[in-house]
Amino acid sequence: MTNSYLRFWGVRGSYAAPQKTHLGVGGNTSCVEIRSGDHLLVCDGGTGIIPLGEELMANSDISEMLVVFTHYHWDHICGLPFFQPAFSPQWKIKFFGPGESAEDIESRLSNQMKAPYFPVETETWMADIEYISPSKTGITHGPMSLSFHNVHHPGVTYGYRIKVAGKNVIYVSDNEIDFLKSSIERRRDEFDDEEHELLEQIEIEERDAELDEIRGTDILIHDAQYTPHDYDKKRGWGHSCYVDAVNFAIDAEVKVLYLYHHDPTYDDEKINAIHHDCMQIVRERKSTMECHIAHEGLIVEL
C-alpha cells in the first residue's frame, strides 16, 4: 500500500444494516478514512468510525487526526460516542462541520452525548479536542487541503473537496440531485411564457453550479441511495437515485465514481444489480468513467 489512500469504514445511509445478507457491502453507516503519510482525515462519524477507532488504538503510530462532518444527522455522528481515540489522552482530534462558530460545532456534536441519551458526556473525553472555526479559505491538514460547499439535503449539509497526493477527492455523502428540476416540472403551470424562459435558465444555472462543484474530479464519493422505483416514493428526502448520480458524474467528467450511502434495506444482491445498471448507463453514454460500489473495507490507493 502507498502512503496515501482512502478506506471505506461505513457505506450505509440512514441506519446500520448488520444483517448477514448485507455484509458483502457492509452494514456500518458513513465513515471514510483518508491517509496521506502521517496525516489522517476522517469524513463523518457514523458507526464506521467505531472499528476505525479500534484499529487506530491497536495499530496506529500516529496521534493526531482531523474529523469532518457533512452534517449532524444520526447516521453521520452516532459512532462518535464509541470512538475510542476521543477517550484517550494520547490523541489530538480536531473536529469540523457546518456551524456558525467553533462553539456551534461543539454544541451540535456534544448534544447527542447528553443525558438521558448517553451515559457519559463529551467532558469525559481525554483527548486534546479542538473545534475548528469556519474559515473562508478552507482547511489545511498537513499535505491535505479541504474546501466545502453546500448540497441539497435537509439542514445545512456540506460536500467536501479534498486535495491529497496530487488528486481531488470529493465526498458528498448526502445530496439530492436535480431537486429544483423536479420542483419546476411540478409547478410549471404557475408561470407565464416569459417566465418559462427564465425557468429554463434557472434550471441550467442550478445544474451548472452543481456540476461545477465536482467537475473533472479524480474521485467522487456520492450518495446513490435509491433505485428509481424507491426514489419516486422518496422525492424530497434529500437523497439521490443512482441513475441521477451516475449521469451527474458523467456530465461532470468525473474520473472515478464510488456509489455511496446505500439504502439499509438493500442487500448485497440488490446493490450488485444497481452496480450492473450503472455500468450499463456508463456504456450507453460511451463514458470512460470508472464506477464502483463503495463497500466496507475497500481501500483505494491515491
Binding site: K136, P154, G155, F179, L199, E205
Partner: protein, 126 residues
C-alpha cells in the same frame, strides 16, 4: 437612492432569479439592491437595514441559514423581515429558518406575481 422608498434586498447567486425580482419590482415604488455574493451582501447589511430581505440558502460562499444566523447577531438586524427562497425545500430547513425569525419560507421558483405580493405585504408599513 430615494430616501422615501423602502429598500428590498435580494441575496441569490442565480442571475435568472435576480431577473425575476427586477421584473417584479417594476410596478412597485421600492428600491432593489441585489447581491450575487453572500459576503458582499453581509458587508452592505452591516450599515443598511432594508424593509425586506430575500435570501437564498445554497450559495457558493455561505449558506443562507448560516448567513442569517450571523446577521441576527447584529443589533440592526435582530428583526429585519426576511423571506427565505430556496430550491432546498425540506421541512428541517423550514424549521431552522423559522427559528431564525423568517417571515416566509418560499420554495423556488417564485413567480414575479408571488414576489410582488410579498414585497407589497411586507413593505406596506415602511
Amino acid at each position: 437612492m430615494s430616501l422615501n422608498k423602502p429598500t428590498v434586498v435580494i441575496v441569490d447567486d442565480s442571475s435568472s432569479v435576480r431577473t425575476f425580482f427586477e421584473r417584479a419590482i417594476r410596478p412597485l415604488d421600492v428600491e432593489l439592491e441585489m447581491f450575487a455574493s453572500a459576503n458582499d451582501a453581509f458587508t452592505y447589511l452591516q450599515t443598511h437595514k432594508p424593509a425586506l430581505l430575500f435570501l437564498d440558502i445554497i450559495m457558493p460562499e455561505k449558506d443562507g441559514l448560516t448567513f442569517l444566523q450571523e446577521l441576527r447577531h447584529l443589533p440592526l438586524h435582530e428583526d429585519t423581515p426576511t423571506v427565505v427562497i430556496s430550491s432546498k425545500d425540506y421541512a428541517q430547513d423550514r424549521v431552522a429558518a423559522k427559528e431564525l425569525g423568517v417571515v416566509e419560507f418560499v420554495a423556488k421558483p417564485m413567480s414575479t406575481k408571488a414576489i410582488e405580493e410579498l414585497i407589497v405585504r411586507y413593505t406596506a408599513s415602511s
